[in-house]
């Protein structure tokens, strides 16, 4: 319905009609032009989502005690786990090394990330309430284990609006494999649909659904002009209906997207050195694909896309969108997954710095939970929601920081225990948004990304 008043339209139009075009005149937005609440530290977010659950004790949270007590039963009571095939303590198969000035320990899984350790703020005390993928994925993105709630990227776009009228504001890059929980993990929930994550498939012929014109440009242009003419007649009869105005503008936007998207995914203009930095030249198809995602992420933030989320690129036919989920063969699985992402993400950080984008961008690396310090079955690790690690880097972040801690076994977070709400509050804060003020009225209630929780994690802020 047409809840927006003419006044609002005009107010918004003054900020440039083009800006409004893609954002769309939402049926139920009921909110003035989006703007930050205070001076933002960053403009964009790149979220490298490690779905399936990376093992924190094998990546950023070394636990020597696990080696000392290898094979021994856990000395503390343990919660039931997903598969409840809990065995005894299993030490990390990887060595840790202290990197950089900060001396942040990083395991041998991530040598490239180790090299940029001084840029990272490693959090070792994240917790989630759900030990099952679908619920945890939803929870990590929207603060709710259920579907139907807006994803982080959707909230950011709702809160800040887009900076590029020709591209969606929340882009999910991937090969088509998505985390368990389905595409709703990136959904807009009750927020207007314009804020939902739009998938770009860099590996496909059509990186975006219906983006390829089926006819030569001149003919399409002619047709769009014909439509525009008819629409203007209709609009005149419809007394300047604002929803229809937007719909008309959308044809122009869509038309421009047809060139903006192919231009975006065309990497021919990137130098060989840049490609190499990301690992695009890797003979390994999985690594090359993830490198392409990372490079595209940079190109997207360069073009003003607010929120870019990268999904895993699992090998053909194996792993699905859940590739870190090593219930068996931890060593092989984590090694190949880490090989995929290590160099590309480190390359991304370096490239952002070289181009002066690092200060305006927040890079986040995390899975939906960690993995158990005790073995599952023969050689796997089960899910560990009670304590795990992630890191952030970029504008406003105090690089070279370690924040929070798990117990000696890496089982439970014990120091500065954090929830996803704290992480969400911090991300919004860096973007200049007060998580308690960013609300949306739905079904008669004001909803927040952080529900009634969340505290900005000051300890990692510069």
């Amino acid at each position: 319905m047409f809840l927006r008043t003419r006044r609002e339209i005009l107010a918004q139009a003054s900020s440039g009609f083009g800006l409004m075009a893609l954002a769309g005149l939402m049926a139920r937005e009921g909110r003035a032009a989006p703007a930050p609440h205070f001076k933002p530290r960053v403009k964009n977010v790149i979220f490298c989502y490690m779905s399936g659950g990376v093992s924190h004790i094998d990546s950023f949270d070394p636990k020597p005690r696990l080696s000392k007590e290898a094979g021994q039963p856990m000395p503390v009571p343990i919660d039931r786990t997903m598969f409840n095939e809990n065995g005894n303590i299993m030490p990390s198969p990887w060595e840790f090394k202290n990197y950089g000035q900060s001396g942040i320990p990083v395991s041998a899984l991530f040598p490239h990330l180790g090299a940029v350790a001084d840029d990272l703020a490693v959090i070792r005390s994240m917790t989630v309430k759900f030990m099952e993928h679908a619920q945890a994925n939803n929870y990590y993105h929207s603060g709710s284990p259920l579907t139907g709630f807006p994803s982080l990227g959707a909230w950011v776009n709702y809160g800040l609006g887009t900076l590029n009228e020709n591209l969606p504001g929340f882009v999910v890059l991937g090969s088509g494999e998505i985390p368990l929980g389905g595409i709703n993990v990136f959904g807009s929930g009750f927020l207007p649909a314009v804020h939902q994550g739009s998938f770009l498939y860099p590996e496909r012929d059509q990186p975006l659904e219906n983006i390829t014109p089926q006819e030569p440009d001149a003919r399409q242009r002619k047709r769009l002009d014909f439509i525009a003419h008819a629409d203007r007649d209709f609009l005149a009869r419809a007394d300047q209906d604002d929803q229809i105005e937007t719909a008309i503008k959308n044809y122009e936007t869509a038309y421009r997207m047809q060139s903006a998207v192919p231009e975006l995914v065309d990497l021919r203009g990137e130098s060989e050195a840049t490609k190499k930095l990301y690992g695009l030249d890797s003979p390994n198809p999985g690594k090359a694909a993830y490198a392409r995602q990372c490079l595209l992420a940079r190109r997207l933030v360069e073009r003003g896309v607010r929120f870019v989320e990268l999904t895993v690129v699992p090998p053909k036919g194996l792993g699905g969108g859940n590739s870190w989920d090593q219930h068996t063969k931890l060593k092989e699985g984590h090694e190949s997954n880490a090989f995929h992402v290590d160099q590309p993400i480190a390359g991304l950080i370096q490239d952002l710095k070289v181009r002066g984008l690092f200060q305006d961008t927040l890079v986040i690396w995390s899975g939906e939970f960690g993995r158990s310090p005790f073995v599952q079955g023969k050689d796997g690790r089960d899910h560990n929601p009670s304590g795990f690690s992630l890191w952030l880097a970029g504008g406003g972040i105090k690089g070279g920081t370690i924040f929070g801690a798990t117990d000696e076994y890496g089982y439970r977070a014990v120091e500065n225990v954090l929830t996803v709400y704290d992480l969400h509050a911090t991300i919004l804060h860096l973007l200049g948004l007060d998580h308690e003020k960013l609300t949306y009225r739905f079904g008669g209630r004001d909803f927040r990304l952080t529900d009634v929780h969340g505290q900005v994690i000051r300890g990692i802020l510069a």
Binding site: F2, T5, L22, L25, M26, A27, E69, A70, G71, R80, E85, E132, L146, T147, I178, G181, G182, I183, G187, S198, F199, E209, N210, I211, E215, A218, R219, K222, R223, F226, H229, A230, D231, D233, F234, L235, Q243, A247, N250, Y251, T253, M257, Q258, P283, P314, L318, G319, G320, G321, S323, Q326, E332, G333, S336, H340, V375, G377, D379, G443, G444
Partner: protein, 1091 residues
Amino acid sequence: MRRFPVHVVGLLVLAGRASAQNEGADFFEKNVRPLLAQHCLACHSVASRPLMGGLRLDSREGVERGGSRGPAIVGGKPEASLLIRAVRQVDDKLRMPPTGKLKDAEIAILAQWVERGAPWGAAGTPPPAESQKFWSFIPPQEPRLPDVKNRAWVKSPLDAFLLAALEAKGLTPAPPADKRTLIRRATFDLTGLPPTPDDVRTFLDDRTPEAFSRVVDRLLASPRYGERWGRHWLDVARYADSNGLDENLVYKNAFRYRDYVVQTFNPDKPYDQFIPEQLAGDLLPGPGDLATSFERWTATGFLALGAKMLAEDDPVKMEMDIVDEQLDTAARAFMGLTVGCARCHDHKFDPIPTADYYSLAGIFKSSRTMENFKVVAKWHEYVLAPQEDRDRLQAHEDKIEAKKRESSRLVQAENAKLVAQARQAAGAYLLAAGDVERYDQVHLQPAPAGSGLAVRESGSFERGNISRPPQKGQRNIPVGQKGPFFAEYDFTVAAAGDYQIDVLEEEKGGGTADLWINGVLVKRGAEPIENRAASPDAGGWSVAGIFPLAAGKNILRLEHKNRFPYFEKFLVAPNPLPQGVPAPKTPAQLARQYGINPGFLEQWVDHLRRSKGAPHSVLYAWNVYGSGQSLAEWSSPAAKLFQDFRPANRQELAARYQDLFRESVRQWQALHPDREVAYEKEERYKKDEKEPGLPDAGLEALRQLLYEKFGPFRPPADSRQYFSAETRQELAKLEKEQKALEEATPEFPQAMGVREGDQIADLPIHIRGSHWTLGPVTPRRFLRVIAGENQPAIGNQESGRLQLAQWLTRKDHPLTSRVMVNRIWRWHFGRGIVPSPDNFGRLGEAPTNQPLLDWLSLRFIERGWSIKAMHRLVMLSSAYQMSTRYDGRAVEIDPENTLLWRMNRRRLEAEAIRDGIMAVAGDLDFTPGGSILTYKDRQYVSNTEKRGAPDYDRNIRAVYLPIVRSSMYEVFQAFDLPDSSMSNGDRDSTVVAPQALFMMNGSVVLKHTRKMAEGLLARTDLDDPGRIHHAYERALGRPAAPGEIDRALTFIAGVERAMENRKAEAAERRVFAWQSFCKALLASNEFIYLN
């Protein structure tokens, strides 16, 4: 069945009145119950298995009665109360909770509670008195018809209600819509399709006052009506054809519910029958004929087809989650209430206490939706066949089950034999595993190029059942469906002796096959490594091993039980090791040498590797042997058994271990003579159960290694290959029989649905929603804010679903009728009188015109709950027939048009756009119902939007296309089809650029506009302006204006001209140009919007 003790109910009622008791109850609820819940109830509640000490702390009665040691408390005397003594841990024998002492403050609270006489809490806050009731909980009263000035405008009393509100604001209604606009609006509203030019013509020609009424009647009588309005209900019923969430299984039979809904709307089944059929179709009396029974069973699919967490590993939680989903959906759908909020706490805004939630939950819990709650759980389906057929099917399924049980018993018995035998040879396993480790240190290099004595391409086998790859890079695809797959190569070497065999693999980690030489298994295959494509290593030569070959002909056999791995070639080279250096043996060879099982051996190797250096391990002595390390650090109780033992060599140490292991087994068997029968029994006595072990702690530690669930003597995953030939034959036979039975399963149509549960019971309140912390039991009954405190009890032989349905359809129910008429209004006007159609509670939006809503809801009941009667009532009003004309002054006063001074302009819904395109193109197939899903029932469907998606490219109506949760059809998604995980009576109509991309480039548009263009050109009775005219009439329901015809002709000619330099034939160019015009016409907003 559990009943709440009478005197506690008495207490509960009193709690509301006497303030002292109220205070005590508050104290209990706030301070004591959380403590009990957190620390005690896991072992001391009705749900505890076993109930520790026979003590229940989940009710006052339980506390007073106490457990095996007597009453838990003495009122007023903390010192004398066992409960307090236990938590203070003053007595050595009674220290609670076992996980550690409570904090002092917590103990103080418990003591204070006992001091105060241990007041118990209430079952929840009582609902408020009548006078404070919210509007929607008071049944509608006949409103007074308001006086209006402009009486001529009032065609129906409903107009008077609207007009009075408008006049009060000084507003006037918009003039009537013209006839073309009106018929387009009505036709899309009732059928989801555009009117045909003939429909429009007939309406224009009918100048009688009943003309529009005739249109409405015609549309209501059309079978297309049920497809449109059934779809609206399917939104409410959160209909989908798959489960969604993490185990996304196909609901192959969900479509029967969908078809039932369509077939319910078409004959205008009264709404007060529709509700009971969906909630309790299986319980409705008479007439008893099969067709009616099938229909009613199918109707209960409403309860069954929600999204479920089928992999929830806690069966009790899974069941309660499903109950919650049903309860929440039913409450939203029929009452517009969000009852689900009360699962964990009293509803914060509506008068729905947690107790009422569990009253309703008891009804659904006493019903049966699932066959089981295993991971992955199976939902119940009705067999739509006569009783004798159902019996036959049941008997058949029982037979299959019996076969499965027989196989599994056999496997377990054989596993037990293997395990028992292996346990006796533990020493040999130690020695062999030690050898494996030593040989692992020897790194062999692939033979240098050109040194191969024999090189064979993978496809050059002499015997085999895999395909021969015609060229490099192509896989040896197994021929046939079932393994084992094998390939045998004959090759000769001149002299007998050891030879190195290398294999050229296309990729590392792709797995290897078992290797046999001359009939002897020499190397077991490796499973493929997950995620191997990510491995940095490309393929290349690798060493299989050094093996003895005979002089002359040798046979090399590669075998794999189900997926034969790809390799390019293998070669045989001379033994590279210096004279006298023994060739490293593979585990398979070692197993043979020691006469042990290779499967267990692998598990031993793995276990030793992981327990290496761990001082608490019973194998510490073995692990450090020869390293020079002392045994001083050895912390296992087994250490004392080796205290004075000084082995001369490994063999002696292994023998010592073997003796001790055997001794532990012997003692264990003597202690528990009945437990060694079958492996399945052993499972029950795994070490973490509190079963007394051997008296000697050292032997017990050794025994535990042998019996550990994931220990080295667990049955190997591929244990079957070690069974005796007879057993394997027997197993194969059983499986063949099982398969034959499965294939011969009689097939009948099935429908998802709910029936009465095996256990009818009231539920206790789940504190904070957790089934681990239970509160008082609540009787099954309905919301007390509506039904009051005095409700007839629901019998203990019935779930109460039927009574629930009867209660909902009572004439004095304040919500049922209002919620439904509001839904009908919403789909005619674009917004409900209550703008939040799914929430009539305090969090919902208030009605914009409550007298109107009440008047309509009373008419609905009065007219026998006929939905079609409501359409007529609404559509024949002046309000519905208003135009959408803009009024600048009205916009100032009522910008959102809440008072309806004009008709709302609406964007068509996803289905109407898609069906509309096909209808205009003359392409729509009106075949009703059925399923186009090619999946089997319960088959996994991808969460990914692309892979394995159903084929949506059909011309049937959109309502009949499947809805895969988490992977919605692109066209549906682009145009705001709601998320089918939750009941939803409203839809967004967003305006986003991907919609424009769809109209510009989408395949649906391309395909059908081609058809439309061809259809227009085939009209030889029309000239080009006539064709354009016709296209406008079909798409927009109006003739083209002269200027539009000119513009279209110019456009078409321009496209044709632009194509002249292309190769296409003139005729083809013409079709193209017309198609381009059709695309433009359908892409115009006038097509997508309804005036």
